[in-house]
Symmetry: D2
């Protein structure tokens, strides 16, 4: 069987990781990536053997800079079975017409609205919903992290109410433009925030409120969760349930911060030191006065990457069973 | 009537502010401050006219450095009616014997345990409890900030349950030793944390759970609160109640971060730019599905300062009415 | 004699400080300040009693927000003897036509080019040059800091060559937009940088090269200087010379960082905790193999403030002797 | 020929990298690593197949924690041909007696004094000096970075004088204890600093002065260099010379900060995203008024790693030609 042809439109933090993760699979391949400027990321993409496409009017610039651009973004789309749109939030929306015109399946990331794709995706929670669709949105890093724990808890015990505080990194590690340097920024100030409720785009019946802040750190988001459940369960029950999720890592062994989790990712030899799993501090998981509490850290740059791979399988129906796709993706990535 | 003679043992972040706040009152005065090293803070204290005392074996060192130390800490204590102990957490405990021996009243800060003083103090919540006592503990910056909002809400509507996430600055602005530089540190990892429950040392019947993290910022703590109340009330009711508290400032006017609150403190001409009040974002205050949510920022260096002044009045009974003391302190400080 | 009427166009970091410093003088007064948005800074300005002006089309917005705007910027300019333009770099240039049309004297800050005013000003170095002029530019925080030490060294010993590394804070303390959060940014990359040579706009014959970086800190800039001089001199000679400069503070007493200098400013009771002087670590000043080395910290928000006051006197010729103006300004500000 | 048996004493930032780099070589192997606590780093070491040794009295603790410690540090040393001591600065000194008693060759890192080993090592500059010795010190990350550029410039043009400002990261990325969070710390304050002169422990005749600061960043050090040379040369000459050094990477392609260099390391697929080379901004390299200027970034965690591999070869004389060792190490590591 021939491999699914995947194009990456927007080769930044997310795009380059999706490209590499797709390359690790045996049932799909990257036929090109699109980059707007000939910076170091474009050179590395070229060195890795990816065909580098660009905006129609910049093909010459790319060539002059030393990257023999394979052509325009339209050319790239024409070759693809699926386009993974990883352009900055809001830009992806404008690309929809392009994909429709070319009759190509497309996926967006969490920076776009649910309505753009009509289906918001998390591999564990609603793989089936995306089967054979033309368009899908892989939800944001935070929503992905929330779905991965809320969904199994809801399946097992019934989730009555979720209250979450999202402490967000303000800039990715390679971004030197955005601050704050030394402040806490409640964002949004109006409460509750829209972040938590985005979970409903995947699991509509969940009752969830959230508050969110932006922090002077680049490494990971941190969630503090408070969950009321329908059925009785113990701390040990929850620990056991969370520990067996395919994209959850229970954290202990003296790891006391997001910095040490990132160190662990590097020590384990992960590409780019990525930590694709939700990292839950085992010691933090507690049922207290009938409510569940825990801390989880989310590596914003990478937790959505395996979900993108699964979404490609769902759209193209090369695998119709979500559990099998998750297992296949995890195995290929070494997760 | 002669003024109450106050000595400050430990002239750091808290001690120097208590000294200046006491000096602003007309019913008490600073008779001396104790500093262990002749650094710039000692020189400024001396320049301001405070008698600088030190450890018995360092009097000569102080003199040599150019600060004519008025004597040993024992000498200072002998002169005082009340000692405000502002030494680092844990040291204060060791000083208790000193105060008992000298037969002087003493106050500690939040770094010490409740048991040391037997009475934990917040001016709004339990002034009367401290009247005439020998020892009292002014609760920590975080607990003070929590008491100031929980107490009036409880009085008015009955507080059923409080869930709070405490995002703590990891170092004071002048501290260059402590990190993290770029990480989020859940602390403690074991949930729920002890921070919230410290409110019970002041208002025992409150049901409160907390989670806490340490952040790479020096300016302020941020609390995100979720409160369930006994009686019905609206967003507007709560805003009105909070706005009229004597040590709460409702924040708006485009202020979007702890950094801008600190700028406001400077712009208002506050000494050291201090923000003694809880700073609550008015826009954040919301009753949602029967639960109250809001964000408040706490200036860790200064919110306990007016409470220290009130505690001196309570211990010495120069004012037996807490409301009057609060009003007097606020007026003298320009709060 | 009536006071010089001063208007502040652009009431941000610099503008609000110039306003307060002018108010401290007995020979000048603020007749209005211009603010574009009704944020907290505008409210504080109004509370302090300043007439708040705004862009012509925003007068109503200001009024609606609760600040009875005294009128448009044009109205303000019409009342003034001197306009101190403290708008963001590049905006000031566009205002020149306004000032010319109104026939009012005007001053710009370091964000504008030398050519705009034709005269770049530092009180110690070239007060006389600005006497009676229509326009002048008060040089940037970094250039001001450099002129204050290079000028006297040049007068006394002849400066042969200056090499300086400028480590710049990337954002002011109230700015939460700009990063980096965790990186060093050489800026500009092309060497040598334009920063040092800006000293020549004040003292043309100085031979100076500089390298500059932007850092994840908000408090102060730090300069490391290497100076070759014409005449022989000792470490002690230089220390003595620097120590007696009117706007230099020699730093010691255990102060080991920019954070502790800012703490000193607060402890001293300075408005906003400002540190108007160059802060030179006394221990760092060293003649080594015939070259001078030292570290100085520059409080970017405030070091140009006394220079702005002096520049007003120079333009209006209410004082023709620079040394007298400096002394008068310093005394009024408590420097 | 059997492989050289290498033991790593102290498996932290440097130790774990040396272990992995040795494993990449075909002429040496890791026979064990020593770790004091059973934290995540110990588990990863164990998972990677390294024999984990520990302090004699902690062997049982390790076993209990789930890591079957292969024995005590003494046991490990007894098996080794060379011990690479990567314990924290100052501890290494105490281990010398151990190595002498066991009659094993040993290497220390830059945290120890030159005198401890009697020979300070940089592969490019003085490989031959270390041949067959019992002890050697691989110089610090900063000194290594300086030697790599000063040595070839000196060989080619003669270095008359070097002035360098070292802007140091204050904590490694996984270290959440150390600050500052928001300040610049001149360190040492006394000038010139000892950092630059440490180059003389490798190349004694170099005339070099340095100034150093500590910054709130974790990623890399940044050096700004000013070099006077004996012979005439052009900007292009220097660029060409630097570009051909085996452990120098010329940086361009829109990379504007240490953060983007670290991103490049990750993008290139380097283990842990390490950047073993000096990273020199090509655009910064400039001959100006007869003096050379440039910026280089140094990845403190990894630049000394290839030098450690070479030092093992020098001590054991399995390769007597430094150039060949450098080439072999680079090739094996993919540098
Ligand atoms: N970074 C994260 O933490 C994160 C996490 C999860 C989801 N997301 C979402 O992923 C999407 C991408 O975010 P990112 O962080 O990777 O952004 P990014 O800025 O790192 O990368 C975006 C890339 O798109 C390119 N680009 C811009 N305009 C383009 C156009 N018109 N055509 C093609 N390419 C264009 C840019 O040059 C850049 O390389 C967003 O929707 C974002 O919300 C980001
Ligand atoms: N900094 C805050 O944010 C904050 C807020 C609220 C409460 N507190 C509490 O206030 C207390 C003081 O904290 P701080 O932040 O002011 O500490 P600090 O370190 O700033 O100051 C403590 C001072 O005590 C001096 N000292 C140390 N040992 C001493 C001794 N044996 N005798 C006399 N003086 C001694 C130190 O030299 C220093 O000047 C602690 O209990 C702390 O938990 C601190
Ligand atoms: N902040 C510093 O560290 C510093 C130091 C020395 C010199 N400077 C220079 O001082 C000048 C002002 O800088 P700043 O840091 O105070 O900026 P800022 O952004 O803090 O303040 C600028 C103010 O001007 C207002 N403004 C914008 N457009 C305007 C317009 N068209 N008319 C009137 N007001 C307008 C803004 O609302 C803001 O209040 C710049 O030239 C800057 O380079 C700044
Ligand atoms: N981190 C850097 O940036 C860097 C760069 C170049 C050189 N160095 C030098 O390398 C050396 C190691 O530094 P590091 O940063 O890797 O330190 P580190 O703290 O990361 O690691 C040191 C390790 O040694 C272990 N250890 C402590 N005492 C021990 C003992 N008695 N026996 C065995 N192991 C013990 C610790 O548990 C830790 O795992 C120091 O000399 C340092 O100056 C560090």
């Amino acid at each position: 069987m021939s491999k699914v042809k995947v194009a990456i439109n927007g080769y930044g933090t997310i795009g380059k990781r999706v490209a590499d993760a797709v390359t690790m699979q045996d049932d799909m391949e990257i036929i090109g990536i699109a980059k707007t400027r000939p910076n170091y990321e474009a050179f590395v993409a070229h060195d890795k053997g990816y065909n580098v496409y660009t905006l129609a009017d910049r093909v010459d610039d790319m060539k002059k800079a030393g990257i023999p651009a394979a052509g325009s973004i339209d050319d790239m789309i024409a070759e693809a079975d699926v386009v993974v749109d990883c352009t900055p939030g809001g830009i992806g929306e404008k690309n929809k017409a392009l994909y429709e015109k070319a009759g190509v399946k497309a996926m967006w990331q969490g920076g776009e609205k649910h309505e753009l794709a009509g289906c918001s995706f998390n591999a564990e929670a609603n793989y089936e919903e995306a089967l054979g669709r033309d368009f899908v949105r892989v939800v944001s890093c935070n929503t992905t992290g929330l779905c991965r724990v809320i969904y199994p808890l809801d399946q097992e015990y019934g989730v009555k109410k979720v209250r979450v505080t999202l402490m967000r990194r303000s800039a990715d590690p390679n971004d030197v433009k955005n601050g704050p340097i030394n402040a806490i920024v409640p964002n949004p100030i109006k409460l509750p925030s829209h972040h938590g409720p985005d979970v409903k785009s995947v699991i509509p019946h969940i009752n969830i409120t959230s508050t969110a802040v932006k922090l002077p750190t680049t490494l990971m988001h941190l969630h503090t969760l408070n969950i009321e459940m329908e059925k009785d369960c113990s701390t040990e029950d929850v620990k056991a349930l969370l520990a067996k999720q395919p994209r959850v890592r229970m954290i202990g062994q003296g790891i006391g911060s997001t910095a040490e989790i990132m160190e662990l990712g590097k020590d384990m030899g992960r590409p780019r030191g990525d930590m694709w799993e939700n990292c839950i501090w085992e010691e933090s998981v507690t049922m207290y006065e009938g409510e569940l509490y825990f801390f989880q850290a989310i590596h914003q740059e990478s937790d959505v990457i395996p979900e993108n791979v699964d979404a490609i399988r769902a759209l193209t129906e090369i695998e119709t069973d979500g559990t099998k796709s998750i297992a296949k993706t995890n195995k290929a990535m070494g997760l």
